[in-house]
């Protein structure tokens, strides 16, 4: 494209054009660049940072976030949001031990809690489909589900003894930890669905411009229902993994987890206003958050400050995602219109 237009345009404008592409590139792949810079810088700052053990450790911590954030990417593609995933993780965590204590076998318990996740998500989706703001619906669900988790568990954390659940949270497949393998599978599945199927395209269309999607015959309500159901089920899967990792079912599991999930998704470049979403970005976003946290820990930074850093990263991500992104794409569009002017005029 650039080589085709290069001979026509004078050298000066070509330079501007290349500069523009550079800025666009920096904004679009800024997260990947930042991740790279952070990893390089940290590997000089701490000899432990870039070790196989530490990288696996970070990936394992990021895994449940990745699993849930893949679902969140679809929700945000439709211009929605789900604040209730952290509470759903707690409810699932508590239900896993409750069901095991009832004497149910693993092959019943796990599908059952996945079903609970799906139903909770579908409940969110049904309200959103009625036209209620997703923010409020899922905020209500956040406190409701956490409340149910406390009621069911009576506020106590109970150990999990099931081998399979523990394996899901702590086990290994060859060299890799099970949660990492699960996260990779979920991410690949999410990428395929988002970029290669009708459903992924429709989620983006609904988020981009709902009326246009409807005019083209897309069942907008069904798409919304499906994305919330999907993130609910993935939150349940994340809850199972976390329960296995922690070794107990706790109503305090997943507190503030929704923030990590949303931060990872937004950092990855998925638009808060819908219509734009990428799974690779979401995965990189989750890794970035965890690498920053891990790096600060290795440097001996006070954990309270680590929390502040996480908040600031989220703020920065939202800033990039909204204001900067819009300005830059407007700027790029103006530039493009300038270039095409001689072609479009009669």
């Amino acid at each position: 494209m650039s080589s085709a237009s290069a001979p026509k345009s004078p050298p000066a404008s070509r330079f501007v054009f290349d500069q523009r592409r550079l800025v666009l590139f920096a904004v679009r792949y800024g997260l990947f660049l930042a991740l790279g810079v952070w990893v390089v810088a940290m590997s000089f700052a701490s000899e432990h940072f870039l070790t196989w053990l530490n990288v696996l450790n970070v990936a394992r911590q990021a895994a449940p976030i990745v699993v849930i954030a893949v679902g969140m990417t679809f929700v945000m593609a439709t211009a929605g949001i789900d604040l209730s995933v952290g509470s759903l993780v707690a409810l699932v965590s508590v239900l896993v031990v409750t069901f095991f204590n009832l004497g149910l076998p693993t092959y019943v318990v796990l599908p059952a809690v996945l079903l609970v996740g799906l139903l909770a998500g579908l409940a969110n989706g049904s309200f959103v489909r009625l036209g209620l703001p997703p923010f409020v619906v899922t905020l209500a669900m956040l406190t409701t589900l956490r409340g149910i988790a406390f009621v069911v568990s009576d506020g106590y954390a109970t150990p999990v003894k099931d081998e399979f659940v523990l394996w899901l949270g702590r086990g290994q497949i060859g060299q890799l930890h099970t949660p990492i393998v699960l996260a990779v599978i979920v991410a690949i599945g999410g990428w395929v669905i988002l970029s290669k199927t009708r459903f992924g395209l429709y989620a983006l269309a609904v988020g981009g411009r709902e009326e246009a999607a409807r005019a083209m015959g897309i069942n907008v309500g069904r798409v919304k229902l499906a994305v919330y159901g999907g993130v609910g089920m993935l939150a349940a899967l994340g809850g199972i993994v976390l329960t296995g990792r922690l070794g107990n079912g706790s109503p305090n599991a997943g507190i503030m987890l929704e923030l990590d999930v949303i931060a990872a998704t937004v950092l990855g470049g998925t638009s808060l206003f819908g219509g734009v979403a990428t799974i690779a970005g979401t995965v990189a976003g989750a890794l970035f958050i965890n690498f920053v946290r891990n790096g600060l820990n290795l440097l001996g930074v006070n954990p309270f400050w680590v929390q502040v850093a996480t908040g600031l990263i989220l703020l920065l991500a939202v800033l990039l995602n909204t204001v900067v992104n819009r300005r830059v794409s407007e700027w790029a569009r103006v530039g493009k219109a300038d270039e095409q002017e001689p072609e479009t005029s009669p």
Binding site: V192, K196, L201, A205, A213, G217, I218, G275, K336, S345
Partner: protein, 260 residues
């Protein structure tokens, strides 16, 4: 009688107490371009929304190739070859040109990969389609939000003609477009006509109609006031019919016209 491509017979439609259309009849042939003109609330859009399946009429019938048919959704009308180009284009800004053209009717792979989008074929067909219409649009993977209003209109027209359309309805196709873009739209209408596609243009701009249409139909307060071959009328006469709500030639023949 019914060798028309489409015939709407005695269509009536009310919204609550408001009567939008009173026994309106309307017909057009393959390859014919008809301009539908009239004031605001004359019923132009309602009539075309009935034809494109967005509304169902209270009474009256629609004949396609002489056969009665019922469109209970825009999808049903599209399946029958009746396409609508919306005034706001109904494009998703974040999706690409190609994705918008095939939105809702994506092509899928065959066989084992039949659940997956056939992006390459869609992209090739989009390019071919736009060339056939004589339109100029940036590469198919460009997001629609990055292209100009005229190019967006071109995408909307390309989408309407992507699946062997027989009738394309355009709602205010030249609103908010530059002079150059308007020329392109008119050219595209001419291309459709030469491919045997019928076109209905809903427009406030009488010059659009005079420039592109074979025939103008004037509506006022839900009724057909009159119609003219574009070749034997002018903007003054059509404007008079829009404003006065009566056909001057008929009024001259029949004395004071019915004002019921």
């Amino acid at each position: 009688m019914s060798d028309h491509l489409v015939e709407m017979r005695l269509i009536s439609k009310s919204f609550g107490a408001v009567v939008a259309l009173r026994q309106v009849s309307f017909a057009l042939d393959a390859g014919e371009v008809v301009g539908l003109v009239g004031d605001n609330a004359a019923g132009k859009s309602t009539l075309m929304k009935i034809l494109s399946g967005a509304y169902t009429p209270d009474s009256g019938e629609i004949l396609l190739d002489g056969h009665p048919c019922h469109f209970d959704s825009p999808m049903a009308a599209r399946a029958a070859g009746i396409e609508m180009v919306y005034q706001d284009f109904a494009l998703v800004p974040e999706l690409s040109v190609t994705q918008n053209i095939f939105l809702g009717r994506e092509l899928l792979h065959r066989g084992l990969r039949s659940r997956f989008l056939d992006k390459r074929t869609m992209s090739e067909r989009a390019t071919h389609l736009i060339e056939r219409l004589g339109l100029r649009v940036p590469p198919g993977d460009t997001p629609v939000r990055a292209i100009s209003g005229g190019q967006q209109q071109a995408v909307a027209i390309a989408r309407a003609t992507a699946f062997d359309a027989r009738l394309v309805i355009m709602d205010e196709p030249t609103a908010n477009l530059s002079a150059a873009a308007i020329g392109k739209v008119r050219e595209a209408i001419g291309n459709l006509k030469s491919h045997g596609v019928a076109v209905v243009i809903i427009s406030h701009r009488i010059e659009d109609i005079l420039e592109t249409a074979d025939r103008a139909v004037v509506l006022k307060r839900g009724q057909v006031v009159g119609e003219r071959r574009v070749a034997d009328t002018g903007s003054d006469e059509i404007l008079h019919m829009i404003v006065a709500g009566q056909d001057p030639r008929r009024a001259a023949n029949n004395g004071p016209s019915k004002s019921a």
